[in-house]
């Protein structure tokens, strides 16, 4: 278990939604306690992914459902904590990560009759690199729900510490380990 007060943490996109949606009462207790000490901190990349997601769902939705999607989007934006920007330092560190780990370690996601394209998988992988770079720079543990991707990035950083002077290691916390 990770003490909520020991934060703040940077939350990856899927970790944030996992904590928000978890039916586990312990997750609610953990989140309530965390929020009494800290804000939820995310990268601007998470905000980008989220807003793109709401917008895509809105465009695909039947007209009668669009209003509830817009309410959800507005609620998300209204509850935002701290959003870390992609600045020049983040770009430098993310560029190093992308050069060291150019290819995603796992194939595109599939679900029943749906699949992620190779281009989307690569874009998501690069977004993960930007989120990891943000965690390194703001010196916060990264809470994630995607061990394969982020462990691969951590390994790449550890194999080339000279490319990340005065930074690292990347500290990872899987969201299920929080409780």
């Amino acid at each position: 278990m990770v003490l909520p007060a020991s934060g703040p943490f940077l939350f990856d996109t899927s970790a944030e939604s996992w904590l928000a949606r978890s039916g586990d009462p312990q997750a609610r207790v953990w989140m309530r306690e965390y929020l009494s000490h800290h804000q939820v901190q995310v990268s601007a990349v998470t905000l980008l992914e989220r807003v793109r997601g709401y917008s895509l769902l809105w465009r695909r939705a039947r007209p009668e459902r669009r209003e509830s999607i817009e309410v959800a989007r507005t609620a998300y934006l209204g509850g935002l904590g701290r959003v870390w920007p992609i600045d020049s330092a983040t770009a430098v560190v993310a560029g190093e990560i992308m050069a060291l780990a150019p290819d995603p370690p796992t194939p595109p996601r599939r679900s029943h009759h749906l699949a992620e394209s190779r281009q989307e998988r690569l874009a998501r992988w690069r977004f993960d690199g930007m989120i990891a770079a943000t965690a390194l720079l703001v010196r916060m543990p990264l809470v994630h729900n995607n061990a394969a991707d982020f462990e691969h990035i951590r390994g790449a950083i550890e194999r080339a510490p000279g490319r990340f002077p005065k930074l690292g290691p990347l500290e990872l916390v899987r969201c299920t380990s929080l409780l």
Binding site: S17, E49, G53, E116
Partner: protein, 81 residues
């Protein structure tokens, strides 16, 4: 600063008086600090509840596939590729 009269639990008042003597400050300073800290914790908890309510609205009512899209995983019909 404003002056007011408070009714406090006896044990809390005794503790506050002890702290004031130990720190050589006025009793009102100790009570003011404790009250400020209590109000900060209360405000943080209130803000936390607001965020949790926002999250319930932001992520409730979506299927797993839709949440994947909200997480940046864009899934398309394979026929559409």
């Amino acid at each position: 600063m404003r002056r007011t009269t408070l009714t406090l639990p006896a044990d809390a008042l005794t503790q506050a008086e002890r702290i004031a003597r130990a720190r050589k400050v006025k009793l009102s300073a100790v009570i003011s600090e404790a009250l400020s800290e209590g109000l900060r914790v209360y405000a943080a908890a209130e803000r936390g509840e607001q965020v949790l309510n926002s999250y319930r609205t932001a992520f409730g009512g979506f299927s797993e596939e839709e949440v994947a899209i909200l997480d940046g995983v864009i899934l398309e019909s394979e026929a559409g590729h």
